[in-house]
């Protein structure tokens, strides 16, 4: 009779132990590290108060939020458009669908390298193509002027992750039953009305899920930017993750890095909670 009771615990024990070792312990350790400063590891809130006077951190945070907002908007609009387009019967539909998913399957590091080469102002494919079309590319230094560099990193994210948005929204579209559409047709509703009053409301859960996942990803973006611009020129494309990496592994200041990570965690959680609330509201209706 003993096994009846202990079995579930026995089965769960290894998982719990691994979880304890690999996530709970590091988290607690990170809290400790963030509350210690200096070589003598004195307990203080210095790492957190420093955030308020660190102009680098503040501008990295601003970049991250603007980056997330811009990329999210573009990805959602483009992904929705593509999903609507490829939801209809058309020739070579499966080919388009497959081709669209390619960027998403590439590791972000590879994406970074590919775009870094493509965006090179002198030897890159982008300016090469533009030049052959007769465009004056002299001032199009994609990763070298602060404004263009920011737009470039956003564009690369949009290029890579729109397919993901598209995929989820397409799945959402296909799950919508046909009946409401038939009814709408009978009632003579216009294409816009059908979209606005049938497709959009029924697609809302899918949209919220995609927003939730993308927001979490965007706020911690690292790889592509690290490869593409390494946060430059100057500080123009530095995000919080990059700055955290720098503080920890370049400057060896793990406490400050941990403190910044917590701030990012809190922000990500707060935004995610909003989405989750909206989703729950949606479901309970």
């Amino acid at each position: 009779m003993g096994t009846e009771r202990t079995l579930p615990f026995l089965l769960l024990a290894p998982t719990m132990l691994v979880l304890l070792a690999l996530s709970i312990y590091p988290l607690v350790y990170a809290v400790r590290v963030s509350l210690q400063t200096g070589a003598s590891a004195r307990w203080s809130l210095d790492n957190f108060t420093r955030l308020f006077s660190d102009a680098f951190f503040q501008s990295a945070l601003l970049h991250t939020l603007v980056y997330a907002l811009m990329a999210l908007t573009c990805e959602l609009l483009l992904g929705l458009g593509l999903a609507l387009l490829l939801n209809h019967e058309m020739r070579a539909r499966s080919l388009f669908r497959a081709a669209l998913l390619v960027p998403m399957m590439l590791p972000p590091v590879v994406v970074g390298v590919v775009w870094r080469l493509a965006l090179n102002p002198n030897f890159g494919a982008v300016n090469g193509t533009l030049k052959s079309l007769g465009v004056n590319t002299e001032s199009l230094t994609w990763t070298a002027s602060p404004r263009l560099a920011f737009l470039s990193v956003v564009a690369v994210d949009v290029w890579q992750w729109t397919p993901f948005v598209f995929l989820i929204l397409l799945a959402g579209l296909q799950a919508i039953p046909q009946e409401p559409y038939e009814a709408a047709r009978m009632d003579g509703s216009s294409a816009w009305q059908t979209f606005r009053f049938i497709t959009l409301p029924l697609l809302k859960p899918a949209i919220l899920i995609v927003l939730l996942l993308r927001t979490m990803d965007l706020l911690r973006v690292f790889d592509q930017i690290f490869i593409l611009t390494e946060g430059g020129p100057g500080f123009a494309t530095e995000t919080v993750s990059l700055y955290i990496y720098r503080a920890a592994f370049r400057f060896g200041n793990f406490g400050y890095a941990a403190a910044m990570s917590f701030v990012l965690l809190v922000i990500t959680n707060a935004i995610s909670l909003v989405y989750i609330r909206l989703l729950q509201k949606q479901e309970s209706r």
Binding site: T3, E4, R5, L7, P8, L10, L11, A13, P14, L17, V18, T37, G38, A39, D46, R50, A55, F56, N120, P121, N122, F123, E138, S139, T141, W142, T143, A144, S145, P146, A149, T229, E230, G231, G232, P233, G234, F235, A236, R246, A248, F249, R250, F251, G252, N253
Partner: protein
């Protein structure tokens, strides 16, 4: 009733073994899911434990070496193989790309894990590692061998890097690879326009302007040949390419009390000069890193640059270079002060937590001997000993060695501070901002100074 429902009922679902197994007579009765699950989880757990405990234990006959992945580390790896063959000591090589080497070593040193017996380190990291007492003092190890310390053949500027404090302090490392910046220029283009090898930064600017103007179709593909190319991407790149100008203009990063002085009149005029020079550089240079600069030189689209000797080999490689035999090498141009290159040596040190310091020291002395440094030189790494730089066989093979030695002996280290990585990062951001037009030279230097002050003053 409630209790009944909560009970674990997994036992009631036996797994059916595939029929084929019955026929093979391998199982007499169905395997219960319970047994299977328990078996699987325990296997998983045991294997996890065994992998995490599988670290090597030092036994005196084994050394672990952390090296930089790249040409510098390759020569050391080959030397380690030779050493194994000669002495029977086993050497494990752990290789990391440059961008990860510092953090891997820092983590090991701070935690004192003793994972490495020897570490290869870039000299700007040394004040941090040496200053925090992470490394083994080499002098007692020399004394065990009845020696007072390293011999006089080492280039003095290289050996000075291995002491903390700089030049005068405790010896914690030995120099393995003797890089210092060189000035590269296109001899053929200079001759064509009757220009002299630049001795001052004003010569450089004048020549750069002339070449950019006259060679509008001078590049191999018919594009413009730019007079000068530099790295102005934030961080290490911009700072390394700026320091020789900064020093030549008479500017200093810190005063005697250790307070930053980058926004001095000299500092600002040096940055202003850099921007002026940037007008003769390929567009977008403010985001250039080593790759872009080397591409421009190799493709023949830029005529002058500062760089490291590691690049010299590529210029005569037909697969990469369109400028074979056309590149001249010189020491740094001067201005108010004589030109000084930035030194960039690879050092080898023994962590304090090393498991086999004595065996590690034997290897360290062996690998930095004149004989071994010559072998390393033949594998493409500049040495750190004068006798090797002057070796006739090597000079015949590497005609730039005399210039390299002169540059190295007059070179200057980056400021010796444990927070150099952070300071360099901040300084580089503002240099890059000035080069991309975001800030004026005055604004950039004032903001850089304020930021560096914050870093220096932070406890």
């Amino acid at each position: 009733m409630k209790k009944q429902a909560a009970r674990f009922t997994i036992r009631r679902f036996p797994i059916r073994t595939p029929k084929a197994l019955y026929h093979l007579g391998m199982r007499k009765r169905p395997l219960s899911l319970k047994t299977l699950a328990l078996a699987l989880t325990s296997i998983l757990f045991v294997s996890l434990l065994s992998t995490s405990c599988g670290q090597n234990q030092g036994d005196g006959k084994q050394l672990t070496l952390a090296v930089n992945a790249g040409v510098e580390g390759d020569a050391l790896k080959q030397a380690a193989r030779d050493y194994e063959a000669q002495t029977g000591v086993r050497i494990n090589i752990v290789e990391f790309p440059y961008s990860n080497l510092f953090d891997k070593e820092l983590v090991d040193l701070t935690a004192g894990t003793g994972a490495y017996d020897l570490i290869m380190l870039d000299d700007p990291w040394f004040p941090r590692f040496g200053g925090e007492g992470f490394l083994t003092d080499l002098t007692p190890l020399y004394q065990k061998k009845n020696l007072s310390g390293p011999d006089d053949d080492f280039v003095q500027t290289s050996l000075a890097l291995c002491r903390h404090p700089y030049q005068t302090g405790t010896l914690y490392a030995l120099p393995y690879l003797g890089n210092s910046q060189l000035f590269f220029y296109r001899k053929d283009i200079f001759e064509k326009h009757g220009l002299k090898e630049p001795a001052t930064w004003d010569d450089v600017l004048g020549s750069a302007r002339i070449i950019t103007e006259r060679e509008a179709q001078g590049a191999p593909g018919g594009g413009r040949l730019y007079g000068y190319v530099m790295r102005a991407a934030q961080g290490n790149a911009a700072v390394a390419d700026f320091m020789p100008i900064f020093w030549a203009f008479g500017a200093e990063m810190f005063d005697a009390e250790g307070r930053p002085t980058v926004n001095s009149a000299e500092g600002i005029s040096a940055l202003r000069f850099m921007l002026e020079l940037g007008k003769s550089a390929p567009p977008g240079y403010s985001s250039f890193n080593a790759d872009e600069v080397s591409a421009h030189l190799l493709q023949g689209t830029a005529a002058m640059s500062i760089n490291w000797p590691a690049w010299i080999a590529a210029f005569s490689d037909p697969a990469k270079s369109k400028v074979i035999g056309k590149i001249g090498f010189a020491t740094m141009p001067g201005a108010k002060k004589p030109g000084q290159a930035e030194i960039g040596n690879w050092l080898i040190a023994i962590p304090r937590s090393a498991r086999n310091p004595d065996a590690a020291f034997d290897f360290l002395v062996w690998v930095t001997s004149a004989e071994q440094l010559k072998r390393s030189a033949l594998r493409g790494n500049p040495p750190t000993r004068r006798s090797v730089f002057n070796d006739p066989e090597l000079v015949a093979k590497f005609p730039t060695y005399p210039v390299q030695l002169r540059s190295l002996e007059t070179s200057r280290p980056r400021p010796r501070t444990p927070r150099w990585n952070e300071i360099e990062n901040a300084f580089g951001i503002f240099l890059s901002k000035a080069n991309s037009g975001e800030l004026s030279p005055e604004e950039a230097m004032n903001q850089a100074n304020a930021e560096i002050l914050k870093i220096v003053e932070r406890k």
